[in-house]
């Protein structure tokens, strides 16, 4: 499928229902090589279902997924991980009562014969990973620091560094800044920039446009199961984007009718639809 080879992952015409509820309605979504995509949407917009399909947790009712141009068949969580798709979950998938080095290698321990852990190697590797991907030079933090004692931003850093170390090509950040202070959010945004610097791609899922805008290359807006807007950052200012987002949210809610926001087939239509909501 040469036509899909230009991007890292492409999801084509994805439909998904749970019972009678249509959660995704013909979503077309892609992430390019070395691209950070901000995926914005309100609660119930379908963000997490879309991501769960991408990570193999759910199977779409209809639609196709292409990874580096190749159509994926028999897709599963294990396959997604093998391909290099890593999710940094909201709860961060960390073990709080254990050290950083233990967490970095959780489930993927460096072992010698008979399955015994090479503690020395894991600690040395962790030190290198912390320097390389997290820029950690703080004397307060060491490889032996307990994750539970770290700040929210630092925990995200460990999870992102872990994903980068294991050569993930696509890192999915699920609400990475929710509940974090301003300075902690800045730290996380720094880690997201590291992903880009390392030549990898990321999907940054959030409610907050102010968090994702500074680091994203492209912003995708999902609303009630459809992509209603898709903008290259270079093509739109933050103020304009906020205005558009506000309209999408407001129109839907005010009318209380999902049909009010149409399902665009492409970006131009999406632009047109949003423009039509402008006062």
């Amino acid at each position: 499928m040469a036509e899909h080879n230009d991007v890292l992952v492409r999801m084509v015409n994805i439909w998904k229902s749970f019972g009678h509820v249509e959660v995704l309605r013909g979503v077309n979504f892609h992430v390019g090589y070395n691209e950070i995509v901000g995926l914005l949407g309100d609660n119930g917009a379908g963000k997490s279902t879309l991501i769960k399909i991408l990570t193999g947790v759910h199977h779409p009712d209809r639609g196709e997924i292409y990874w580096k141009g190749e159509k994926l068949i028999g897709y599963s969580v294990a396959r997604a991980r093998d391909l290099g798709i890593e999710t940094v979950f909201q709860e961060r998938a960390l073990s709080e009562q254990h050290t950083i080095w233990r967490n970095i290698f959780m489930g993927r321990e460096i072992t010698t014969s008979w399955g015994f852990i090479d503690v020395k190697k894991e600690r040395e590797e962790t030190e290198r990973i912390m320097r390389q991907y997290m820029g950690f030079t703080s004397a307060a933090l060491s490889v032996d620091s307990m994750v539970g004692t770290m700040s929210g931003g630092e925990k995200q850093g460990v999870a992102i560094a872990r994903a980068l170390h294991f050569q993930a090509d696509l890192i999915i950040l699920d609400e990475p800044t929710t509940g974090l202070s301003l300075s902690e959010t800045q730290k996380v945004l720094g880690f997201v920039e590291e992903i880009k610097k390392n030549g990898k791609s990321a999907i940054f899922i959030t409610h907050n446009i102010y968090h994702v805008y500074p680091v994203a290359d492209r912003i995708v807006i999902l609303d009630r199961g459809s992509i209603v807007g898709e903008f290259e950052k270079t093509a739109i200012s933050l103020e304009k984007l906020v205005e558009k987002l506000y309209l999408v949210a407001r129109t839907g809610r005010l009318e209380n009718n999902s049909q009010e926001v149409s399902v665009p087939k492409d970006q131009e239509k999406s632009e047109r639809d949003l423009q039509s909501f402008m006062p």
């Binding site: 709860e91 073990s95 233990r102 489930g107 399955g115 015994f116 307990m146």
Partner: protein, 318 residues
């Protein structure tokens, strides 16, 4: 250095201090008994049974689960050992069957907990009654001698007296403690036990097979309960159908006293080792000090509550 590391060290030091204080009190209260080596030889013969089970139970508690059925598995496996030994006259065969039955009973616990998503606390109350009932039905409530086992060298290997004085079973307890420590602290399976207990959802996401971990920890508990049953029966050269009863709370107390919290995720083998010693020496010490047996339970309760409060306070400081 990690604050957890120091917290764990502090926890281990605190339980060691409790042991030293108790021994010092006993030495002051009853110097004749506690300054003689006889009492320590006696402790080394009686403590290993519950110590082995407490060490094994530590893995279950760290994984965030609980087992209340091990005393009944111990009793049933004691029955299997005795029955097979009398039927075949073979010590190794009796031992093998007993251990296999123990592993099977433990595996059954794990399987039901994992596959049926049953809470371990409730399920093992059920299997505790079940295995105790099976033992009573099969044995008809009657005990049986194990004196003929003395003809086997294995008897001496398990519960003989080294140099005519040093009980072999304490060496087994130390060896088992070392193996469990090695697995828990140096093997990837041990790391997976900690991750499973701390945050099973995270562990799953990171590729830890949480269900498999739980099945294995319950299975090994059954195996070690069986082994403890053999040792306890051989020590008195008699199988009692009530074998195992009375070990439940003391064994669990040893784990908690050693600093492993009921929530799981953390805990140490060393702590349980010392916890088992404390539990093991209390009763004899209290009586040797001239107090009546009525005091035993009271002192047990007091020491357990104080120790757990200390561990909890140390953990909060991190």
């Amino acid at each position: 250095m990690a604050r957890l590391r120091t917290a764990e060290h502090r926890s281990q030091i605190s339980v060691l201090l409790v042991l030293f204080v108790i021994i010092a009190l006993f030495m002051i209260g009853s110097p004749k008994t506690f300054l003689s080596s006889d009492i320590y030889a006696a402790f080394m013969s009686t403590i290993p049974f519950s110590m082995i089970m407490a060490l094994s139970l530590t893995l279950i508690v760290i994984s965030g689960e609980m087992d209340l059925s091990f005393p009944s598995i111990m009793g049933f496996c004691g029955y299997v050992f005795t029955h097979v030994f009398h039927a075949t006259g073979s010590f190794p065969l009796a031992l093998l069957s007993c251990i296999l039955v123990g592993l099977g009973a433990g595996f059954l616990n794990g399987l039901l907990i994992v596959k049926l998503r049953l809470p371990s606390l409730v399920l093992t109350i059920g299997t505790q009654f079940f295995w105790y009932g099976v033992t009573q039905v099969l044995s008809g409530g009657l005990g049986k001698t194990l004196v003929p086992t003395k003809a086997s060298t294995l008897y001496y290997l398990f519960v003989g007296r080294i140099g005519g004085r040093f009980p072999a079973q304490i060496l087994w307890a130390i060896l088992i403690g070392f193996i469990i420590w090695l697995v828990l602290n140096r093997h990837r399976f041990g790391a997976h036990i900690y991750f499973t207990g701390d945050n099973p959802a995270s562990a799953r996401v990171m590729g830890v097979n949480v269900d498999r971990v739980k099945m294995i920890v319950f299975t090994q508990m059954g195996g070690f309960a069986a082994f403890a049953g053999v040792l306890a029966s051989l020590e008195v050269l008699y199988f009692w159908p009530t074998l195992g009863q009375g070990y439940l709370l003391k064994t669990i107390a040893a784990v908690f006293l050693g600093g492993t919290p009921v929530e799981g995720g953390v805990g140490t083998v060393f702590g349980t080792f010392i916890g088992a010693i404390i539990i093991g020496i209390l009763e004899a010490g209290i009586i040797a000090m001239g107090m009546t047996g009525f005091w035993t339970q009271l002192v047990y309760g007091l020491i357990i509550v104080v120790s757990i409060a200390i561990h909890s306070a140390l953990r909060r400081r991190t």
